[in-house]
């Protein structure tokens, strides 16, 4: 796995900006890499902040590697679902840049609160991609310690995790862990649909009044299952932040460089005590909501094609090729690594055992429950009553 931090510190030769373009176009959208692979040196956002990245060639290649690997592993999971090995899968197809850009912007000490689609962020946290697959296979419900990985368990109830993130960020303040470069920050992931939830709006209120060191990272992928953005909002989502008293900004969510720059800045502002902000990563869910969904019922092919032209990976590849940062051998090697890792993932998914039925009684309460113990004992006895059967 490519685990290099492609930003922040400088290692090796810096890639000089090889193409420049003024920040024209949509002033509401921070973009540093066009769909055609043209590099924009820097952009001053509507917030007055100048956004830029200063990556080495190696770091650019690292981001490309992340994007390809994340897409390939996601495709493998979709295939596993089609073959009946996963019960369901929520694909991130199309959202790779939003997740890799923001995921790589996190510093080690930062805490992430994902939805159920942040497989790319998980990967960038250095977490084994097998970890969430038990949930989708139906052999567990997550089962990891959020504090061990600085990555909360997947949350399926829409928007609920934004409050958890806010509380966690309040705790950072209470622990006095802001105000320096080593300060901690939190990122809360959610989607455009979630912005209609009460919990998300309450999280905005709380984060504002308690000056919580956090970033609300909204991947606006244009759809909440079948419902388009227009069913959730009358105004651009990032503008909601103003009503809650903190900055909001829209970034091209298919541009890994811009997403990285905007997220890194917002997180650093938060860790230095400047409070919350909202990032709207403008992107598109290329696939279905989940493998149970049929998007042809609610969106037209031409729309999907238009977004296909803004693909987050091809633009990085075009840039790397044009600037001769990577050659054919590199691309082939990345593809080969992706193939290898997806095969490895598949093998391990197939090897996941079903849990013993009696384990359903485990971990309901930290201190246990006599009534539950009784029920477990009755269940075990019942199961044992089947002659010659282990279960």
């Amino acid at each position: 796995m490519a685990k290099g931090d492609p930003g922040g510190t400088t290692r090796g030769r810096r890639a000089a900006p090889r193409s420049r373009k003024s920040a024209t176009g949509n002033p509401e959208l921070v973009q540093l890499l066009t769909p055609e692979g043209e590099r924009i040196d820097s952009v001053t956002g509507p917030d007055g902040i100048e956004y830029r990245v200063d990556f080495t060639d190696e770091e650019y290649r690292g981001l490309y590697r992340d994007l390809v690997l994340v897409r390939k592993l996601d495709a493998e999971a979709t295939a596993l679902q089609r073959q009946g090995e996963l019960g369901i899968w929520a694909s991130l197809l199309g959202q790779e840049a939003a997740q890799v850009g923001s995921g790589r912007a996190l510093r080690t000490q930062d805490m992430a609160f994902p939805t159920y689609r942040e497989h790319g962020v998980l990967y960038c946290r250095g977490i084994d991609p097998i970890m969430p697959l038990g949930l989708f296979r139906g052999v567990d419900q997550g089962g990891w310690d959020p504090n061990e990985f600085k990555f909360n368990m997947y949350t399926i109830v829409i928007g609920a995790q934004t409050l958890h993130a806010t509380g966690y960020a309040m705790g950072i303040n209470m622990d006095g862990k802001t105000g320096t470069d080593d300060g901690e920050a939190v990122i809360a992931y959610f989607g455009d649909g979630a912005t209609s939830q009460g919990d998300v709006n309450e999280a905005f209120v709380w984060a504002g009044v308690f000056n919580a060191p956090m970033v609300f990272f909204c991947q606006n992928n244009q759809y909440a299952i079948s419902e388009p953005l227009e069913r959730q909002t009358r105004i651009p989502l990032y503008q909601r932040a103003a009503g809650f008293g903190f900055p909001g900004i829209r970034v091209d969510g298919n541009d890994v460089l811009a997403t990285y720059a905007v997220t890194r800045t917002a997180l650093d502002n938060a860790r230095h005590g400047q409070g919350p902000s909202l990032i709207e990563a403008y992107t598109y869910r290329m696939g279905a909501h989940t493998t149970s969904d049929d998007p042809t019922r609610y969106r037209i092919a031409s729309e999907v094609e238009a977004w296909q032209a803004k693909d987050p990976i091809s633009r990085v590849k075009a840039f790397l090729e044009k600037q001769q940062i990577a050659d054919a051998a590199f691309f082939a090697e990345v593809d080969e690594q992706a193939r290898r890792e997806s095969v490895h993932l598949r093998e391990r998914v197939l090897a996941m055992p079903n849990p013993e039925p009696v384990t359903m009684f485990d971990h309901v309460y930290p201190n246990g429950s006599p009534l539950l113990d009784e029920q477990r004992a009755q269940f075990s006895k019942y199961m044992e009553s089947f002659e010659g059967s282990a279960h």
């Binding site: 504090n147 949350t155 409050l163 509380g167 960020a169 930290p366 006599p370």
Partner: protein, 329 residues
């Protein structure tokens, strides 16, 4: 010094103070809990002494209170959340049922949410709607939550501290109409030696009928037992104290002696705590029962207007009427 006479409300306040003193990770969150000391003054003076980082006046949104407390718990804090009134807990219901209750399970035991959700519950104070409800069945029905209720100042003082010290998420139901009732509280007895939190207790021994109650109805049942004694009937009163998990060993032992059981609660009867008690007692004490387990409860209506709540709430006469019916079976 050891034993003082306190109201139930003051006993809770003193217990909360002890918890804040003993563990710097304990925090209190809720609406009006700081400067005001809570609408019932249960947190009176705590923000003044422990600061606004530990006794936090929150924005007015119950889901936000519980949801942010989950995050604080993940961070290592032990939040005590006050829900101002029973009828206002429902906006937080999703966070309580889907998040608080399930985090430990979802994490396969790697994460605990040591949260106490304090809810003043029940009627009898002449309030407008939404201020007199008994939502315990909703929470007791939910795996992953524990639910307790105190009925006297001594228990209030001890049980609140036990709940805070527990790693389980606990819904702590406070009988609001008993907040002002006084009783002796031993302030010096070590918590480690206290009567276990999730244990029922016989509060009045008797031989003829077993009354099962919790929270505000324990006092009602004790009064009924006093009245019945004048008529020559000895009612045994059991304070359940814990609604999830239920502790029914004392109840089974009692019903096997008396042969009769009456469950009393303010909550409506339909699919309520009383139904669960009746089922379990019937299963465990079937051959000892002289009559079916009877229930005296609030009616299956929304909580009514205050001017008729005395007729809605179980009282001494309705309890004694059920005792008569048990004997008349």
């Amino acid at each position: 010094m050891a034993t003082e006479t306190l109201t139930l409300g003051k006993a809770l306040n003193t217990g909360l103070r002890r918890a804040l003193e003993n563990d710097p990770k304990v925090i209190i969150m809720g609406e009006d809990v700081g400067k005001l000391g809570g609408v019932f003054r249960i947190t009176d003076g705590l923000q003044k002494d422990f600061g606004d980082q530990r006794v936090i006046d929150t924005p007015l949104a119950e889901s936000g209170i519980i949801g942010t407390a989950v995050g604080l718990a993940i961070r290592g804090y032990r939040p005590i959340c006050e829900i101002q009134f029973d009828g206002f807990v429902y906006p937080a219901y999703d966070q309580i049922v889907s998040q608080v209750a399930k985090m430990h399970y979802r994490s396969r035991g790697k994460l605990s949410i040591p949260m106490v959700i304090r809810i003043p519950f029940g009627g009898g104070i002449g309030a407008v709607e939404h201020h007199s409800e008994s939502p315990e069945a909703y929470f007791a029905h939910t795996a992953g939550l524990k639910v307790v209720s105190c009925a006297n100042p001594q228990d209030a003082y001890v049980m609140i501290q036990q709940a805070i010290a527990s790693d389980d998420p606990i819904v702590f139901l406070e009988p609001k109409r008993r907040y002002w009732e006084k009783g002796p509280v031993d302030l010096d007895a070590p918590l480690a030696d206290a009567y276990p939190l999730h244990s029922a207790r016989v509060v009045r021994p008797g031989t003829d009928v077993t009354l099962l109650a919790y929270g505000p109805m324990v006092r009602t049942c004790l009064d009924a037992a006093t009245a019945a004694a004048e008529d020559g009937r000895e009612l045994e009163v059991i304070d359940l104290r814990t609604l999830s998990p239920l502790d029914l060993s004392a109840a089974y032992e009692s019903v096997k002696r008396t042969g009769r059981a009456v469950v009393v609660h303010e909550a409506p009867s339909n699919i309520g705590i009383g139904a669960e008690l009746a089922a379990r007692i019937t299963e465990e004490c079937f051959y000892s029962l002289e009559s079916p387990v009877l229930r005296v409860t609030g009616f299956d209506t929304p909580y009514p207007a205050a001017r008729v709540e005395e007729e809605y709430l179980p009282d001494l006469d309705r309890v004694l009427d059920a005792v008569d019916r048990s004997f008349g079976w």
